[in-house]
């Protein structure tokens, strides 16, 4: 069994048993990254990785290691990393060497992990296909003519393509779950506020949440243990007890009540994707779970709600990028206005500009009530739907994406791209934790199953996902290599 096929748990065991060293596994991954043509990485930090691997080997030898010591990972290029370029997939930050570490970067350093590099993403996390990156699209390891999903497309492709043992991702409207689904890996978006947003370049502050992208639910629990927790540097971080996410993985799920929202299985969902999802649900039934149809009546409004709320927040967040203090500045500005507007126009790509303008319009005098306030009210209704549903069920399940990965370059207009986010947006609007786990294949492309839990129920979601992965082998499939 080759190193790149191993999970965190397996690599940690191998390191402990001296089967291989962290330096060896790091070299193995760096060689695979060098040979890869997936365009998953923006920056490969090979020297730093080798240094971290040597330090990790020292700790393993000294007996002061933890489960993540010496495990290589790919870091989404949205997390600030001190002394390393942090681009957010944008020309605007192509020259930005972060002067500080994001809390997540710091936590993973503290856990003695090895950072292989910074991975590709849609520009400022705005996109569902990774095609809006300044650094070019990422290819799906299962079929290199297909998108990997987005915005954490580089993260998903790196894990699925065996270029990294695990990756970090961020999810504002599905950006962990959708690429995880399209690339056949496990992705977890925790409850809003569970993982610190400090140093995570903001897109939509009331929706953004970071989480792990891994091969298995067990690995996701290991990484979440390192990432979760209160951070006083993030004013939206929740002061909430952090359990050991490994502790309940083996609990029985007999009697678990699964809610299937009828709105998630209606028009627009590909038939084969629907049948793969239903097969997975049947598997849960044979494991002793009870299935119940539920309704989330306002879920159709998640798309217009999200595509007002998120652009409003983005237009505000991205106003800091003005060519004055860091990032891209245009050549020879003739005055201050010209400096602002040309730096921004030349530095941002088209999808980012579009969302900034939608936000600027929806927040402007005379339109605020009709758009932003209205969207905040529908957001409330969407979140109430979930509250009601969780009176009757333990977990909600359904598809992640209406189709499998589509062809690169095939979706040309924004609205069509937005419509594909239908099943993922509402968990962000409500702030709920949600996962994607591998659940089958359609035309040789992976299909993900979405699990949405109540607030702070990450342990439960990981337990449910782990139990499923004990009974199935979808998560063990990897793309064939030449």
């Amino acid at each position: 069994m080759s190193i790149y096929t191993k999970t965190i748990a397996q690599l940690a065991q191998g390191l402990k048993d001296k089967e291989f060293s962290s330096v060896e596994i790091t070299q193995h991954y760096l060689e695979r990254i060098k040979k890869s043509d997936l365009n998953a990485f923006i920056t490969v930090t090979d020297q730093l990785a080798m240094k971290q691997a040597q330090t990790a080997d020292g700790k393993i030898a000294a007996g002061t290691s933890n489960i993540l010591t010496g495990i290589p990972y790919a870091h989404k290029d949205i997390f600030c990393t001190k002394g390393v370029k942090t681009s957010a997939g944008s020309k605007m930050l192509d020259n930005f060497i972060s002067p500080y570490d994001a809390t997540v970067s710091h936590q993973l350093n503290q856990a003695d992990t090895v950072m292989l590099g910074k991975v590709n993403m849609d520009e400022f996390a705005m996109g569902s296909s990774n095609e809006s990156s300044f650094y070019g699209a990422v290819k799906n390891p299962w079929d290199t003519n297909k998108i990997p999903g987005g915005s954490s497309g580089g993260s998903a492709a790196a894990v699925a393509g065996g270029l990294s043992c695990f990756a970090t991702g961020t999810d504002t409207g599905g950006s962990i779950r959708q690429p995880a689904s399209l690339c056949g890996i496990t992705g977890l978006k925790p409850t809003y506020g569970r993982v610190s947003r400090y140093g995570m370049i903001a897109y939509a502050s009331s929706l953004d949440q970071a989480g792990p992208m891994t091969k298995t639910a067990q690995d996701a629990a290991i990484v979440l243990n390192a990432m979760a927790g209160f951070d006083e540097k993030d004013s939206t971080s929740a002061e909430q007890y952090v359990p050991d996410y490994m502790a309940n993985l083996n609990d029985s799920i007999k009697g678990l009540t699964i809610g299937l929202p009828k709105e998630f299985f209606s028009e627009g969902l590909d038939d084969d994707v629907a049948s793969q999802v239903m097969n997975a649900i049947k598997e849960f039934e044979t494991m002793g779970a009870v299935v119940k149809e539920i309704s989330l009546p306002n879920s159709a409004y998640a798309i217009p709600t999200y595509y007002i709320v998120a652009p409003c927040e983005c237009s505000s967040n991205l106003s800091r990028l003005d060519g004055v203090r860091y990032g891209y500045r245009c050549e020879n500005p003739k005055d201050l206005e010209d400096l602002y507007s040309r730096s921004r126009s030349e530095g941002f790509g088209s999808e980012v500009k579009r969302r900034i303008m939608i936000g600027a319009y929806a927040l402007s005098a005379g339109y605020y009530n009709a758009y932003y306030l209205k969207a905040q009210k529908t957001r409330h209704l969407i979140s109430e739907d979930f509250k009601k549903a969780f009176h009757d069920v333990d977990v909600i399940m359904g598809p992640v994406s209406p189709t499998t990965a589509f062809d690169l370059g095939s979706v040309k207009d924004s609205v069509s791209m937005y419509l594909a986010d239908i099943y993922t947006l509402s968990a962000n609007l409500a702030g709920l934790p949600a996962m994607s786990i591998p659940a089958g294949f359609s035309n040789k492309l992976p299909v993900g199953l979405q699990l949405i839990g109540n607030y702070w129920s990450e342990s439960k979601l990981l337990n449910i996902a782990h139990q499923f992965q004990l009974q199935t082998d979808w998560h063990q499939q990897m793309p064939q290599e030449d």
Partner: protein
Amino acid sequence: MSLSEQEVTQIAYLARLSLSETELKDNTKDLNAILGLAEQLGAIETDGIKPMAHPLHMTQRLRADVVTEEDHSELFQSIAPKIGNKHYLVPTVIE
């Protein structure tokens, strides 16, 4: 309702973006399509519903009123496009 190219130019100005002629045409089309999507919200009854700004209904945390920030100005300015005398430099605003 639908946005004109003139209105889109004004929105771009508010966002401190300048659009080429092609960009203006494309964005007018795209922005109208996106706002068309947003019009769907008109169908939903929201009288008396409280707007939700934050998923956890949290209030802003307060901290003790003491200085905790260290001075990192040199480090932060090391990545600035243009500085002088510890200031960020921009084109002259007032002669």
